[in-house]
Symmetry: C2
Subunit: 266 residues, 2 copies
């Protein structure tokens, strides 16, 4: 069922053909209930993942400004035990980070065994904004796709499952959300004038997202395009895909040490 | 009201005089409701702390095995937005960590501005197990207290508030909890035979905790002794102390940039 949102590496992507308003014909209440049910199950799986201490889950969130990365983290992953869940927000790189390859700062923050790692932005920034703004050329960008794919294979070969979500909103929805940041005092702090410059490049961003999703969606680290105008649907859908992955991972409590039944506590 | 649980640096501590069963004469239901109310308020403060981006909060959890560190993190801090909350669990030090001073690995994990940092165990391990087992002598231990106090002052002078909680359970309660780990299959993985050796040193640990709490409770980084036999009371009390500290910190949404009201989104 979630398959239809997965990017098929062999099929050309046309974001214009995808409806960011899609809501599965589910009502607000239904979506809230479904999310709650999913989260309950995810919490149980997370505890087993942590106890098992053999596999990891890496979740990558990419979107344009106001796309809903923060809201997804708060609503889908907020209820998870924070001890087993590490969120890394990648900002503009520091000078030390810039003095290394694009995967250096990312590698340091990949989830350890037993952990869920969440990337709020990621190494994909290094094939998005920099390409849209022509700071790197096609050749460099192609190289980066390959490095990224190889890097993700390394993680997957070390028992890290990777789910990548592109939160897809429409340009009108972004307008609405930016206006809200301007008009609601408690949201003012999220507004950055620089976001307007990026918004002007909307179409260029969409074309670059199409290319990135196409070139870096693999069977071991697939991209999902999440219709994200409806926040409740977005949360529900992401929770469903995560839950499905947990079912595939099937983490188990470790076998007890030998001889536990003979132990007497003084 | 929470003052009574705070360690007074000028008064000698006698853990025998503190009742780990204390529950404030509150029922299970009352404690659950009070915790929920506190968490609701904490979540609001956390968002402001993050938006303000000027202060940090560091929470240190110390206890003997089964003392309830994991449960506290799950129940009190679980509902907080994971993006603003970083849990660090300190295990036995690696060889690289051992090649540095005791504060090196800790310093790397202190919370950035806007963040809550939670230490599951901490630099205090380096004045507890190592002293109880006589791996360091009194002179070295005294030096470490001073280094710790100086280090925490550095953090406080950089706008990090520090709350340190010693989760105080009785020896009988530990017995009960260890037996539960043995008898409940889903808890087997938490049982480590090594914990029994530590349990044999119970009294020595209590005396060392008394010394540590005394020597490292300061006005800028106080210790609280949390009666922790009753898990619901423990969670409620810790949430109350955290909430009180947030009220003192009084984080505020930043002032909006100039000229926001003139902006029109195309």
């Amino acid at each position: 069922m979630n398959e239809r949102f997965k990017v098929d590496e062999n099929e050309k992507i046309d974001l214009n053909k995808i409806d960011p308003d899609y809501d599965g014909k589910l009502s607000k209440d239904e979506l809230e209930d479904l999310l709650k049910d999913n989260i309950k199950e995810i919490i149980k799986y997370q505890e087993k993942l942590y106890a098992e201490n053999k596999q990891s889950l890496l979740i990558v969130l990419q979107a344009l400004d106001t796309g809903g990365k923060d809201g997804t983290i708060r609503n889908v992953f907020g209820p998870i035990n924070p001890q087993g869940c590490l969120v890394t927000s990648f900002k503009a790189p520091t000078s030390v980070e810039l003095a290394h390859d694009i995967l250096w700062r990312v590698h340091k923050n990949t989830p350890a065994k037993g952990m869920i790692g969440i990337f709020n932005r990621s190494h994909y920034e290094d094939v998005l904004v920099v390409k849209v703004r022509d700071w790197i050329d096609d050749e460099e960008c192609e190289k980066r796709y390959k490095h990224i794919n190889n890097f993700e294979k390394l993680l997957r070969d070390n028992n890290t499952r990777i789910l990548k979500f592109f939160l897809y909103i429409s340009k009108d929805e972004q307008k609405k959300r930016l206006e809200e940041r301007l008009s609601v005092p408690e949201k003012n702090w999220k507004f950055a004038k620089g976001d307007l410059a990026e918004r002007k490049l909307w179409d260029k961003y969409m074309r670059q997202f199409e290319e990135v999703l196409q070139k870096t969606s693999t069977d071991y680290a697939p991209w999902y395009i999440i219709p994200a105008n409806n926040k409740k649907y977005r949360n529900y859908l992401i929770s469903s895909i995560v839950l499905e992955e947990f079912k595939n991972m099937d983490p188990k409590y470790p076998e007890p040490e030998e001889g536990l039944d003979e132990i007497v506590i003084d």
